[in-house]
Each structure stands twice: as C-alpha cells, then as structure tokens.
Amino acid sequence: MHLLYMIFIDHFVQMGSAPDLLVQTLWEGLVAGVLYALIALGFVLIFKASGVFNFAQGIMVVFSALTLVGLYAHGVPAFLALAITIGVMFLLALAIERFVLRPLVNQPDIILFMATFGLTYILIGAGELIFGGDPKVMIADQLLLPSGSYTIKMFGGFVQMQKIDIAAAVIASLMVASLAVFFQKTRIGRALRAVADSHRAALSVGI
C-alpha cells in the first residue's frame, strides 16, 4: 500500500506543496525537449529525404560543435569559425554521400544503417584525434547568445530561466517550423519525400 502511495500519489502531493519547483522542472524539461527535437530534426530531414536512418547524426552534431570550438581556440574569430564550421560540415556530408552512401544505393535499408553505424565510430575517432579528448566550453558569449537568467517570482518561490535556454527554444522552434513548411510546400521538399518513397517512380517523373 505504501509503495503504491509512493508511486501514484506522493509526487502529486509534492507538486502541490512546491508549485514553484514544479514550474522550474517543467521549464527545464521543455528546454531539454526542444533541444532533443533539434537533433531529432536532423534525423527526420535525412530519413525523409533518403529513407536512411542516420545513426551518425548525434556524433555529427558533436563533431560540428568540436570544430567550432576548436577553430575558435586556434584564434579564428567566432563568427568566421561558425561560417567555416558550416562549410566543413557541408563538405563532410557531401563526402559521406559520395563515398559511403552512394555506392550502397538500392541496398536494403539495414545495410545503409550499418554503414552510418560504422561512420559513427570513424567520426568519434577523428574528433578525438583532431581536437583531443579534454572537455571544451561552448563559445556562446562570443556568438552573442545571451547569458545570465531571468528570475521570476511565483507561488511564493522563484523560477529561474536561463536566457540561453530561451534563445535555444526560440531558434529550435523556428527551425522546426521552417522545415515543416519546406517539406510540405516546396518543390524540392516534395521531391525529397518522393525520392525517399519510391526511387524509380521519382526517376520516371524526372526528379
């Protein structure tokens, strides 16, 4: 009985007794969720366009962050480093398509999946080889992202919102929204979905 109480009732009693903590937790959960959505967006983009589940998506995000921070550490100005990082990731993606995925076109999905699996280990190794294994600090300030936090008085307590979390949530929401419009409403978006669905039908209509 006590166990059931602990599982099903107790949490709600606690929530009721500390509403400020509840709001704080909800907010942090929301921010974490939005950031995961941003990474998931990468999965979706690639899956919709190619039908490939790109296991290397996560490590590619890490690799881009490492590149950005690494370039900055070598004295490249922050925004130039950002531009170069975008360029580097673009080239990396092209190289992956050309040398890893294209030779496997029309193979069963699981084979492509395994290829991205292998890619993950290559990128982990490459990242460590190039940038070293020690922890890095993100250059958020230098990219003019806001720092500090708002503290809101609420329910007799305080709720703290990091400004950078707010910025992240806004940017991520915008990206999700524009991707949705891109896939639903543009010719290229439609073409990408079409190719993922049926390769030969797409060929027959000239995509």
Binding site: K185, T186, R187, G189, R190, D197, L203
Partner: protein, 266 residues
Amino acid sequence: MRAPSGPEVAVGDVLLSVENVSLSFGGVNAVSDVSFDIRKGEIRAIIGPNGAGKTSMLNIINGFYQPQQGRITFKGETRAKMRPHDAAYGGIARTFQNVALFRGMTALDNIMAGRSLKMHRNFFWQLLRVGPAMTEEVEHRRRVEEIIDFLKIQEIRRTPVGRLPYGLQKRVELGRALAMEPDLLLLDEPMAGMNLEEKEDMSRFVLDVNDHYGTTIALIEHDMGVVMDLSDRVVVLDHGLKIADGTPDDIKGNQGVIDAYLGVAH
C-alpha cells in the same frame, strides 16, 4: 478501328521509332532485334505472353534500361543512350505494372510531384510563399486540380495513397503521369488486377486522355478485349521477338499470335 483524334496533333507522323533494339541480361535475351514505331495521337498496344519482353521494352523507351543494340528516335531525335531524367524532360511519362506511388504522400502531393520538372522558382521563394513563386504554385495547383476532376478523385485528394484501394492507386498514378503533360504516355498494365467496372472506368480514362489531350499512348495489357477495343495498332512480342504488328483485326486473325498464346500442336 477507332479513328485517332486530337485537337492540334497531326495524326500519323511517327513520334517514336524503335529500330533493331536488343537487350539482354546475362544470357537471357529480353528483347531481340525489335523494330516498331508509335505514331502521334494513336493508342499503341504492346502485347505478348508473360516474359515476352513487354515491360523491358517500356523500360528501354523511358531510359530505365540501355539497349545493347539498336536505335531509338523520339520526336526526330535519335539517341544512343538516354537517362530516365532526359526521357521525363523530353515528354515521356509512365505508370508501373506494380503501382509505384509515393506512398507516404497524399494523392494531391503525388500528382504535384509530376509537375516537378515544370516548376522553376527556387525553394527559398517557395518557402516564403511570396510573389512569383506563389503565382507559380497556384498555377500548378490549378492544373493538378483539373486532372483530379478529370479522373474523378476529388474526395481522396488529401488521403495518403498508401491507404487507398488498388484501383484508385492506379488512377492516382495515371494522374501523376498526366501532370507531366507528356507527349508519350506509357502505361504498364493499367488494368491489371481490376474488376470489370474498374477496367471500364480505366478504359474510358485512357480513351479520354487520348481524345481530350491528344496524348499518344503506348500500353501493355493482358486483357484482349480491352486491347482490341482501345488500341489503334498492336505490336506482339514473344520471347523477346516481334511476331506481329498491325491493326487489332490483323492481330486477331494472325496464326503466329494464336500459336504464341495457345501453344502449337506438335
């Protein structure tokens, strides 16, 4: 024979000609030294028993396969090699024996995809949905709605095609091909697996496309009743060889064709 008619198409000129085309896969001769032509505005049937090389022939015409020998002339241009993209760009559209639709997309989006080659604004403007990009999208959408009306599939335009019954999927696939406004439409067994009523509907659509848009059609079909009713001329393949070519009446009486279908008494 039904007289082919079309508003502005000069009937009778050769639209596509296939000369001495051969294609083999390893040791299997799918198509051997086949020649025939398709004239503007006509409905041309390609028939033959299973494994006769009919689908291979369509795949050669729309660039999926490259023949090892022979020449293909389309709209006066002879080509040694053509990719599917060139075929689509040149005005050849097709449907598939086992429906090949974009299953996750709605009927509307499937048909819109058929207009990909005709849309030119870059995606940035399409994303913003302003100015010329918007005008273009609206214009294409209007054309697509015409096709949807024509094929009487208004009520399923928002349904993902994977959920539609087979007969309707075939109709959407025809719609996607029509959206390309093709000069030559290749239909690979448009009535396969349909019941009588669906076959009659599809036959009417094929005739209407031919009449209304003046589209030249090459179709593969097993239902002899349909073939004889629809087509202006018929070419018969068997084991990759052409064994007959002529009007439906010629073909009906052709001993070689009867033998190919029924077997020869020994």
